[in-house]
């Protein structure tokens, strides 16, 4: 127990950095996902095919490849991003691309009558999408979004590959000094489990709080 406490203290800076990575990229990823999802349906032909290509690439590349491309590849165009910025950008792009697919599916599942009613009330297309369609679609996309955020919590550990001092990276250095791999990596697994379980709980809560009285939704 004492060892665990010491371990947590030793890892605390990494724990904070990991939480920080997630706290920034989760909301940004959800926002990007909502934007891309809406654009892929309401963006017109050209814009929606650009979005389609963009999501196909981002969901087809492993996150690690995207991250390494941003960190090591962008400087070849004269764009220099630090490790943390590169990691954040790759998390937001990747989770945004995946979330957009859920949002798109959710938008398409919404009854056409909603759109007709909004138009009958004299709303513009933008008003209709922002005030009528998206709030409902995002609610329906919560289970998918929750999955993606939980994936992102786990994949945040990959930021170590470009030198971000998050908790995996710190654990690995610590292990090379005190060499207690079993304890260190078990503690690390428990930390991620706790984060994922917490995220899962929060999304369930959000889902219940935001539920609209609709007969077709459980």
């Amino acid at each position: 127990m004492d060892f665990l406490l010491e371990l947590l203290t030793a890892l605390s800076s990494g724990l904070l950095r990991t939480v920080e990575l997630i706290a920034i990229s989760a909301p940004c990823g959800i926002a990007l996902g909502a934007l891309l999802g809406a654009l892929s349906i309401y963006g017109g032909r050209i814009l929606s095919s650009i979005v389609k290509l963009f999501t196909a690439i981002l969901t087809g590349f492993p996150l690690l490849v995207t991250m390494l491309l941003i960190f090591f590849g962008l400087p070849e165009f004269g764009i220099y991003l630090g490790p943390t910025e590169s990691a954040l950008l790759s998390f937001v792009l990747c989770s945004g691309a995946y979330i957009s697919q859920y949002v798109k599916g959710a938008i398409m599942s919404i009854d056409e009558g909603q759109s007709l009613a909004a138009r009958a009330l004299g709303m513009t297309r933008a008003q209709e999408v922002i005030y009528i369609i998206l709030p409902q679609a995002l609610r329906r996309a919560i289970p998918g979004i929750s999955n993606e955020v939980i994936y992102m919590i786990q994949y945040s550990s990959l930021a170590f590959a470009i030198g971000v001092q998050e908790v995996y990276s710190i654990s690995k250095s610590l292990n090379s000094i005190i060499f207690r791999p079993l304890e260190i990596f078990t503690a690390l697994a428990l930390f991620y489990l706790a984060l994922c379980t917490l995220a899962n709980f929060l999304f369930k809560l959000a889902r219940r709080r935001l539920r609209v009285m609709e007969s077709e939704l459980p």
């Binding site: 690690l64 590849g73 995996y168």
Partner: protein, 219 residues
């Protein structure tokens, strides 16, 4: 050497990546299917144990699982494993948790009338499971299973941390050797993209062949 001269070296990573993926999926399947049977039909206690297993493996990053196995669990058991084997075990264990969930929901989606009919024909419960439920569940699960393939393909890139000679490890070598990062990582990304598409299409083809007539997915 020119950048293009490195392309064969990069492409030689494809069999390594595919070996990781197929071994991982096979291991995940052989563990996941029995687990799904427990989840769907097992006793309450057995279900709890499987739930805990699934919860642990789905909530632990692959990177952490890989490190725990390679540096922690295997050495403390006195087993010497290569990075390649450790990677397959990590991918396989994680996939078994995901596959158990895929097969569980497929099993539970089969109409209960089938179970009753099979019993009425005098089949034992084990026969019902083997000859009626599992063959259908596998076919129902195929679309979700294709997703699992795509996820594992991309996850296999994480094994570069142990230096398994798969696609990403080679891309990293090329990037170090040539000083150019854009080209090797872009080609690596496109290789993953192509392998994902090819695999998903192949599974879709298989799904069309084995789909169950008379179901919505089988039209």
């Amino acid at each position: 050497m020119q950048l293009l001269d490195y392309i064969p070296f990069l492409v030689e990573g494809v069999p390594w990546t595919l070996a990781l993926v197929f071994s991982g999926l096979t291991m995940g399947f052989s563990l996941g299917l029995p687990l799904s049977l427990i989840e769907a039909f097992g006793s309450r206690g057995a279900k709890l144990v499987v739930d805990a297993y699934v919860w642990f493996l789905r909530g632990t990053p692959l990177l952490v699982l890989l490190s725990l196995l390679y540096w922690g669990i295997f050495p403390s058991l006195g087993i010497k494993v290569s990075p390649f084997i450790a990677s397959i075990v990590a991918l396989g264990l994680r996939s078994s948790a995901y596959q158990s969930q895929i097969f569980r929901s497929a099993l539970l989606s089969i109409e209960s009338g089938q179970l009753l009919a099979a019993r009425a024909m005098g089949m034992r419960d084990s026969q019902v499971v083997m000859h009626v439920l599992v063959p259908q569940a596998l076919r129902i699960a195929l679309p979700s299973w294709s997703n699992e393939y795509a996820i594992m393909l991309k996850d296999s890139s994480i094994c570069f941390t142990l230096g398994v000679m798969e696609i990403l490890t080679r891309a990293k070598y090329i990037s170090t050797a040539t000083g150019s990062a854009l080209f090797p990582f872009l080609i690596a990304g496109l290789l993953y993209l192509a392998l994902t598409r090819a695999g998903v299409e192949a599974i879709e083809l298989l799904h069309r062949k084995v789909r169950i007539p008379g179901t919505l997915g089988g039209e």
